[in-house]
Structures are given as C-alpha cells and as structure tokens.
C-alpha cells in the first residue's frame, strides 16, 4: 500500500512549498521510531514530568448501578495538563528538539491541545504560537489565559467558521512561511502523513498501559473499549492496545450534537451523518461537506469534538469493521457526566463523556463477568465555565454576574 495510506484514506496533500519540510519530518520521525532509546526517553519523560502510567480505575459504583459488565475507566484526566493531549505533544517536543527547531505552532479548538503545546514549549524552551478560532477564544477564555501565562502567543483566527478547522488552516499558513525554524504540532491523528501515524504512535502509550492494567485487574482482556472520537487521537491511543485482539470490540463515539436528524452534529462515521469522502487540510477522509466539497459548520457541546474531518486510520478501521461507531447527543452527555460525578467522584471532560454515554447504554445488557474500558480522555473540572454553562447552573450564573459587576465597578 502507498505510504501514509490506510485503505484509500490518508495521504499527504500538501502545497509544494512544504515538500522539503515533510521530507525532513518523515526522516526524523522514522529515525526516532527505529531508535528504541527514543521511546524509552519518551516513557521516562512522561513518567517524570507527567503522570504516566495513568491509572485504570475500577468504577465499582457505576458497575453496581448498571448491573452488567464491569466498568473500568482509563484515567487520562490525570495526565499533566488534564488530558491525553500531552502524550502527543511531549513526544513531538522530543522530536522537535532532535530536529533542532526553535519554534512550535499549533491549532486548538477547546484549548486543550493549545495548552498542552504551550506547556511543552515552556518545558523545552521553544517559542510558541497558538492559532485558535475567534469563537473558541471567546468560549474558552480560561485556557487562553493559561496559554498566555505559559508564554505562548495566542492568535485569534477570524476567518471561516472561526473554529478548529480555520485555526488549522491558519497554522498551515504560518508554517509555509516559517518551516525553516518552526514545527507544526498537529494535535490529532489527522492531517498529512506522517501526522496520523506519528500522533497515533505517541498516543499508543495509553493502549499499552491499559492492556497491562486490565490483564492485571480483570485477569483477561476486556470485551469492549469505548472512546470518544473528534479527530480520533485518544481513541487511536487506547484502541492500539487491543487492535490485534479480535475478541475485543472497539467502539468510537462521535458527537451527536442536537441529534443526527437535526443536522447540528459533528458525526462523520455513523449512518445518516451525511459525511462523504473528501480531501482537505492535507489528507483524504470522511468530511462533513456540501456535495460540491465545501466544508460545513459542525456542532457539539464539546469543542474538542467539533471538527469536520476524522482520522483516516479510523475511517479505514471502520470500513473494515474493526471499529464500530456510535454517537452521543449533547443532552445524553450531560446526563452521563452527572451520573459519573455523583457515582464515582470523577469529572470527565464533555468530550470524554461521549464515550461514557455509549458504554452506559451497552453495559446493562452485558454479563457481570464481562469487562469494558472507557477511555476518559480528559478531566472536566478545568472546563468549569463550559460545563457550568451546559448545566445552566443558577448559582454559578449568579456568581459570574456578581464578579462581573465587581470588575466593572473596580
């Protein structure tokens, strides 16, 4: 098969000006991949600087509540910066250092990947610019605050739908001028080759750990593994621990938004989503687009899932029947989030809560000797503004109104 392709998906549809940059990146990546000491350095860094291995928590109360399969939760929320994003970013940071570049740029939607990149840049001593849709800058002020405090420059993107895909376009525009000293840290398993493969490699640490942990705690492999899918990096991360085990069913959960039938969603892989094959942002995948190929606006309660495309690797796995896809609506996400908080004292990010929704739908029909793993890709407590808004919490609103009044007087 052609390099960088997964079935008919993937590729590297890049402007000619980036040809040499990608040639260099491919070389650096392949050398790192062939060098066992690189992975060792990566694992040590993640153990020392971040919080790896992250635990696999047995959710005893949720298991009892549903009365079906044993529910385990892979705790990427306990990774540094609060999500799986750090795995990819620290890995690419090591690679950037090897390539001798001094500046990193990144796109961000909700701000998690931007924060992780700004953190990595601070740690490695790189200059850092983060592109973020203007609409997301407005929605995610706390993350912008932290990125700036970490020393990054945050550039609001005012073009297009002013969300994640537009931030990605703008990062590409920076890169075609700055590639000599700059690396573009793509945040997910999308974009031109080698990004899908490379990011999946860094994220595979999740699956490697989860596999060992479930064997230890449950005595055998799980029956099903659930992960939310925006671009697909956390899903690819955990799925890779079980891809070669046909007995383990892999379930990707997309953003159903206000319901697939309303058209206000960000699902690409489920029946009726309306997604079709396309080529944009440097790769070929299923996109939410018009029949003529113009990308559409997407919607999700979770900014991290609000994206038009999806990993070419996951599309291929879906086509081959290895990964099954489902969707969770905004409303279901809030219910699953509430239940998880109250039952286990764990606060999933709204992105991650999509995986919980589907697991909760299926667990009751499974038997108590079966086990499932839910990949909790990130923590929700740092998204308090977004979650409190989604809960429409009166006391929170009152607090904001009073705080705003105090600022306007002061």
């Amino acid at each position: 098969m052609k390099k960088g392709y997964y079935g008919q998906w993937g590729g590297a549809f890049i402007p000619e000006v980036l040809h040499a940059t990608f040639a260099d990146l491919n070389k650096a990546y392949e050398q790192a991949r062939a060098d066992a000491s690189f992975w060792q350095e990566y694992v040590e860094l993640m153990g020392n600087y971040s919080c790896r291995p992250t635990p696999l928590t047995f959710a005893e109360n949720l298991t009892r509540h549903f009365g079906g399969a044993r529910i385990f939760i892979k705790r990427e929320d306990l990774n540094h910066t609060g999500a799986h994003k750090a795995n990819n970013v620290m890995g690419q940071g090591l690679l950037v250092r090897r390539m001798g570049k001094k500046r990193v740029i990144a796109e961000t939607g909700a701000g998690q990947h931007g924060m992780a990149t700004a953190t990595m840049a601070a740690r490695f001593g790189f200059a850092c610019t983060i592109y973020m849709g203007e609409e997301d800058v407005a929605r995610q002020r706390p993350n912008v605050f932290w990125m700036e405090k970490l020393g990054a420059t945050v550039v609001p993107v005012t073009d297009g739908s002013r969300t994640l895909k537009d931030a990605m376009n703008e990062a590409f525009r920076d890169w075609v001028a700055s590639m000599d000293d700059t690396h573009y840290v793509i945040g997910t398993v999308c974009g031109p080759h080698p990004f899908p493969e490379m990011v999946a490699w860094f994220q595979s640490i999740i699956g490697q750990e989860a596999r060992q942990q479930i064997l230890k705690q449950h005595g055998r492999l799980p029956d099903r593994v659930y992960a939310c899918v925006g671009g697909g990096s956390n899903a690819m991360g955990i799925f890779q621990g079980f891809l070669d085990e046909p007995g383990v069913e892999l379930v990707g959960v997309e953003a159903g938004g206000e319901g697939i039938a309303t058209g206000r969603h960000a699902a690409r892989m489920i029946e009726g989503s309306g997604a079709t094959p396309g080529v944009a942002q440097g790769y070929k995948t299923m996109f939410l687009q018009s029949p003529e190929g113009q990308m559409l606006d997407t919607h999700s309660i979770a900014a991290g899932l609000d994206y038009v495309g999806v990993s070419p690797i996951l599309v291929d796995l879906g086509e081959r029947g290895r990964v099954r896809f489902a969707a969770a609506t905004d409303r279901e996400v809030i219910e699953a989030l509430s239940l998880t908080m109250r039952s286990e004292g764990i606060i999933p990010a709204m992105e991650s809560a999509h995986a919980f929704v589907q697991a909760f739908k299926e667990a009751p029909a499974m038997s108590p000797d079966q086990a499932i793993i839910i990949n909790m890709s990130g923590r929700g407590d740092k998204d308090i503004f977004t979650i409190a808004h989604a809960f429409d919490d009166p006391s929170w609103k009152d607090f904001i109104v009073k705080r705003a009044a105090a600022y306007s007087i002061g």
Binding site: P15, V17, H19, A20, D159
Partner: protein, 260 residues
C-alpha cells in the same frame, strides 16, 4: 482551444519581453464584476488568466484571497456557475488562455476525470491545483495530458534541484514558480536570492516559467523580464478592484507591460 499551452506561450514570448497572467476569484465581488474585470484584462493584453474556483479551506492563500473565497461562498457561488462562467469567458476572449485554479477537493468531488473533461470542453487550457503534489496526483496528471490540458505544477524556493527536475518532468504548460515562502499576497523581496532561485528554476526545465506571489507593480514585472517568461498578478488586482472598482484594472495592467 486548449492546444499546446507550452508551445503557445513560447511563441507569444517571441513577441513580448514578458507575458502576463492575472488571477481572480470567481464570484468575488460578483460574477458581473468578474466579467468586467476579465474584459479589461483581455483588452489590456494579458496572456493567461487563472480563475480560482472558491474553496472553504484555501490553505495556501493569504488574507486577501482567503476573504475573497469566503465572501464568494457566502454569496452562494457554486462550482457549476464557475464552470459556466468560465465557458462564457473562454468563448468571449479567444486570445486569452484560461486556466482554473482551485484546491483538490473541488476537483475530487466533481469527479477528477469529469472535471478535467469539462475543463477542456469549455475551452480552457489547464488547471492549477494548489494542494495536489505529483505524488498524489498521478491520475490527475495522466488524465490532463490525455485530454491535452496542462496540469501546472510548482517550483518553490525550498525545492531542491532534484525536486525541480522531478516536478518539471510531470507537469505541462508552464511551471508556476512561487517567488518566496509563505502564502499569496505578501510582498516579495526582489533580491539576489530571487535571481539565484530563478536561475535554478531555469536550469531545471525547458518549460516556460511563470513567477508569482506578491508581484504588484511595473518594477516587479520589469525585474523579472530577463529571468522568467510570465509574471503572475494575483492579490494586487483583487485589492485594486476592492479599492477603485473594475475600471481601474485595464490601465493598471496596461501600465505593467514591459515592451521589447
């Protein structure tokens, strides 16, 4: 109408010190204004015009062309309208060689072979696809050549000599030499580095060289006269139409011409 673009440009080059190619984004500010702008360009004697079919994710374009793409799409432009308009222009101005410029998804969604056949049938002579490197465009390159269309490929300052030869061997018509790193529309420094780059381009291929990205005045065009075959004016005319309306285009283009 498509003929052999390379041959045609080389012949024209015998009569002129440097050829001119202009660019516009279809549907921006409107097809009616596009029509007037193209008429002015044709009457002012441009050799080629690239008509950009708008795409929602134009990653190689700078702010001016990006906004033009968006505005045009917001106003509801369709690929079908672009094709029909192109047909009208090619028929109205037979002395001008027309090419479509776009991003690969537009071609892909229309159907690669169907898009190229239609492009030929309406009297266009080639296509410029910003995000389709030869490695991904083998079918596109082969079909274009079968149809007698020129699939125009790119040289850039980051291209090695080897890469230039590799690319040139697969393209046709002319080579689009991007004058500098970065997106469309920003100023290009006309310096020794550019001269050296263009000399490298010249050594790599016998195809005519078109030079674009940030060319905006007669001095820029004159500087290119001995080093390239065609100057590409993109963002500058879009800005001009925005600021002064379509009537300013004719005099602007006429003022760029460098006589023998």
């Amino acid at each position: 109408m498509s003929g052999n673009l390379e041959h045609e440009l080389k012949q024209r080059r015998q009569q002129k010190k440097i050829l001119l190619m202009t660019h516009l984004v279809l549907g921006y500010p409107s097809l009616a204004i596009n029509r007037e702008v193209i008429r002015q360009m044709a009457e002012a004697g441009v050799d080629c015009i690239e008509l950009q079919i708008p795409f929602s994710e134009p990653i190689a374009d700078g702010p001016v062309i990006l906004k033009a793409n968006q505005r045009s799409l917001d106003q509801g432009i369709t690929v079908e309208e672009c094709l029909r308009f192109g047909q009208e222009m090619a028929a109205a101005f037979p002395q001008v060689r027309f090419l479509f410029m776009t991003y690969y998804n537009i071609v892909f969604k229309y159907g690669e072979a169907a898009f190229l056949r239609r492009t030929r049938d309406i009297g266009f002579c080639g296509t410029i696809v910003a995000d389709l490197p030869p490695e991904e465009g083998q079918g596109y390159l082969a079909t274009s050549k079968e149809l007698g269309l020129a699939p125009v490929l790119f040289f850039t300052p980051t291209s090695s000599d080897e890469r230039m030869r590799q690319v040139a061997a697969q393209g046709a018509g002319f080579v689009y030499c991007v004058a500098r790193r970065g997106v469309t529309g920003r100023q290009t420094a006309f310096d020794q580095a550019l001269d050296q780059y263009l000399a490298r381009c010249r050594r790599a291929t016998a195809l005519p060289l078109a030079v674009g990205f940030g060319i905006s005045n007669r001095e820029d065009v004159a500087r290119l006269a001995d080093k390239a075959d065609m100057a590409v004016i993109g963002t500058a005319t879009i800005k001009l139409v925005d600021a002064q309306g379509p009537a300013a285009v004719g005099p602007f283009i006429a003022g760029l011409k460098v006589s023998l």
